[in-house]
């Protein structure tokens, strides 16, 4: 067995007419891993995908598939399969013809083609549809045909380029379960490019967050969400977004004392020493809201309420900022005064000058007093 990683990017660099699109990008995908490349428009993720697929060549750095350097290898000969946005299924061909397409292009014998096609159709639950034209399929079927067509050649790596970007939101939720099930059952290594953090969180073993052509952080969804390395990652991940509150920090033995515009001297267990002005990053579900006062709570007014169905987001007047709190329905109404407590044990501190998260004891959980 080949022990080399399926994909290895070493210090990739690419610029277009003097502007760097991808800078010093290093990333490794192990066999069977599902990794998302996540970032906003223009972050460099599509350029990265184009280099891996072979549509663009890197200016410098190395690109290895199964340990083999493929920097200049033509697109079709890298062992990399790709599924584009909107799937790119040939609508005038039947499901069978679509599935067999890549095999025919390889010049494989008819009998072997038929064997592999039947096997893939069975795996993807497409057997009943083999003679149907792709134009008659629903979206779930289309996704399976697109995946099957790419998977049938057994690529070392499958690239998925925002395959669900143009679909209705409800449909996306259903399709991603199916995608993950197929990926798992084949132990297929996947790099999934997306700007949608919910999709990346839901699907990935690991997420690589990009911005401005640079990799910002690589980690499991849990790490990226709970222990972001910098302000960009903290703000990009999470819906509703993280709160960033101006905060003065003083150290005392074993603890930090945090003061925001509203809460004074909240104790946060910590052994490091941090002093001065920071941003306190706290997720909306760590803002605790109650109709009755409790130790450490401060009365604040609710400006407005976002109804998300099973949860509500309260937008609470907090000094000159609005604080977002994720609560069960009917926690409070607009204009109501509520009692707010910050669960700072789960909060992060961001240096406003460098935008880096301050490593307070390896991000270990810190306790509120």
């Amino acid at each position: 067995m080949n022990a080399a990683p399926r994909l290895e990017l070493r210090a990739l660099h690419k610029s277009f007419s003097g502007t760097s699109a991808v800078k010093d990008l290093s990333l490794t995908l192990a066999q069977g891993e599902f990794v998302s490349l996540l970032g906003p428009s223009g972050c460099g993720k599509s350029t990265t995908l184009a280099m891996i697929a072979g549509f663009e060549y890197p200016d410098s750095g190395d690109l290895l598939v199964d340990g083999r350097r493929v920097n200049q290898t033509p697109a079709g000969k890298r062992g990399v399969g790709i599924v584009f946005q909107d799937y790119g299924v040939f609508t005038r061909l039947t499901v069978l013809e679509n599935l067999a397409f890549g095999l025919g292009a390889q010049g494989m014998k008819q009998s072997r083609q038929a064997e592999l096609t039947a096997e893939m159709a069975a795996r993807l639950d497409l057997e009943a549809l083999l003679n149907r034209r792709a134009s008659q399929l629903n979206v779930s079927e289309l996704q399976r045909v697109a995946l099957g067509r790419a998977l049938i050649t057994r690529p070392s790596l499958l690239l998925l380029d925002e395959p669900m970007a143009n679909l209705d939101s409800g449909l996306r939720g259903r399709l991603r379960g199916e995608l993950r099930r197929i990926q798992k059952s084949l132990a297929q290594t996947v790099l999934y490019v997306t700007h949608d953090q919910v999709e990346a969180m839901a699907l990935s073993d690991r997420i690589a967050v990009m911005d401005g052509g640079r990799l910002q952080q690589v980690g499991t969804p849990e790490e990226i969400y709970s222990r972001p390395r910098n302000r960009f990652v903290a703000e990009f991940i999470g819906d509703p977004p993280i709160n960033l509150l101006s905060c003065t920090v003083r150290s005392e033995p074993g603890a930090l004392l945090l003061s925001t515009a509203v809460h004074l001297n909240i104790r946060k267990a910590n052994a490091g020493t941090v002093h001065g002005e920071y941003l306190l990053g706290i997720r909306p579900h760590h803002v605790k809201v109650s109709r009755s006062a409790s130790f450490g709570s401060v009365a604040c007014r609710v400006r407005y309420v976002d109804n998300l169905g099973p949860e509500h987001v309260l937008h609470i007047e907090y000094g000159r900022q609005l604080l977002r709190a994720l609560t069960p329905p009917a926690t409070a109404a607009p204009e109501e005064v509520v009692h707010v407590r910050l669960d700072v044990g789960n909060a992060i501190l961001i240096d406003p000058l460098t935008n880096d998260v301050v490593d307070t004891q390896g991000h270990e959980k810190l306790e509120a007093a």
């Binding site: 906003p40 939720g173 991603r176 839901a202 579900h285 169905g309």
Partner: protein, 361 residues
């Protein structure tokens, strides 16, 4: 008071009925979201109201005045279409001022209005620049400025956030809910995104296959859907629908399905005319999950798949031959393919007639 009233609007393209007797009302000061999947008829309805399509039948009243025969530019509507092409060779200021200039307004009035709008829309920095330097979000805001520059009674927006990054959508959504209300007396906002509609709207009109399925507040739509389509469209994930049949006994009744049996909610309301084949609607946040069997979690199941989404986890459970999705707290410890126990309490408002797809009332 009613700002816009649409009555019995129908529109056919070729053989296909795109709008089927659509009636709806926008009240003064109201933010109405028109939601539905792709091809539901949303854009057709908006274009018909705007005067770009002539309806086969039905009336459109704005402030009780029939505008059905008026050309688009005389209807008193501001419209932002999905592909809001700005004039590429004109600055932000010129784009916004376009309709005012065409109407022959004096220069000073135009500058004043553009200034007001730019400050509300937070696009002052774009006034002297050309659209090719704008970001996606800036483009949308300038397009809105242009659409509403000439005072309009009603603002129509067709998927104004489509084509933008998920992150930017979320930011603009938070911004829009305050901003858009301040710009006109009422508005219709078209989207396919149920979360956007829930968070923005005073009321939601759900359109599917050219027909209005339900109109109501976000809470009504979410808690009391009228049919299977509406229930399946809202929520992420949407309400679970489990097949069940009613078993009636002398003094009790229960609902029995694949892998579960639960007491019938409120047997006093049990009618003999109850359909034999039912579906029980269970919102995912009301599914109880446990590691051990208990009276709260009596039914054995298996964890099929977990989506860890940060502030919550969505757990896909195999219960009998069916799938049930549960929303649980982020710190609940659970592993794929482990056995688990599940429980739920059906609500009398969440029983569906399997044949008609309608919720029982």
């Amino acid at each position: 008071m009613s700002l816009l009233r649409v009555q019995g609007l129908s529109k056919r393209f070729g053989g296909k009925l795109a709008l089927d007797h659509v009636s709806l009302e926008v009240r003064k000061g109201e933010f109405l979201c028109l939601v539905g999947p792709t091809n539901a008829g949303k854009s057709t309805l908006l274009k018909t109201i705007a005067g770009l399509h002539r309806p086969d039948s039905g009336t459109i009243l704005l402030q009780e005045r029939d505008i059905g025969a008026l050309p688009p530019n005389e209807r008193g509507l501001g419209v932002v279409f999905q592909n809001d092409a700005l004039f590429p060779d004109q600055t932000g200021h010129e784009n916004i001022a376009f309709a005012l200039k065409a109407a022959g307004r004096p220069r000073q009035k135009i500058d004043q209005r553009v200034g007001e709008l730019a400050s509300t829309l937070r696009i002052e920095h774009l006034l002297s620049r050309r659209p090719d330097t704008f970001s996606g979000g800036e483009r949308k805001r300038v397009a809105i400025g242009r659409a509403i520059a000439a005072h309009s009674d009603l603002l129509l927006l067709d998927e104004p956030l489509s084509g933008l990054d998920a992150r930017l959508r979320l930011e603009l959504r938070l911004e829009f809910r305050q901003l858009l209300r301040s710009l006109s007396q009422g508005l219709i906002y078209v989207t396919h995104d149920h979360a956007e509609a829930m968070s923005l709207a005073d009321r939601i009109a759900v359109l599917h296959e050219g027909r209005i399925q339900q109109i109501g507040t976000p809470d009504e739509i979410y808690r009391r859907p009228v049919n299977r389509f509406v229930a399946g469209f809202f929520g992420s994930p949407p309400m679970n629908l489990l097949t069940a049949e009613v078993r009636q006994y002398a003094d009790a009744a229960e609902l029995v399905g694949d892998g579960f049996r639960v007491p019938f909610p409120n047997p006093a309301t049990l009618r003999s005319a109850l359909p034999g084949d039912l579906e029980i609607g269970i919102p995912p946040e009301e599914v109880r999950l446990g590691r051990e069997q208990s009276s709260n979690t009596p039914h054995p199941c298996k964890v099929a798949w977990i989506e860890r989404l940060g502030s919550r986890q969505v757990i896909d459970l195999a219960l009998g031959g069916a799938r049930v999705k549960a929303i649980v707290a982020p710190d609940y410890r659970v592993q794929e393919s482990e056995p688990a126990w599940v429980g739920f309490t059906p609500c009398i408002h969440h029983l569906v007639d399997r044949k008609t797809g309608l919720f029982l009332r």
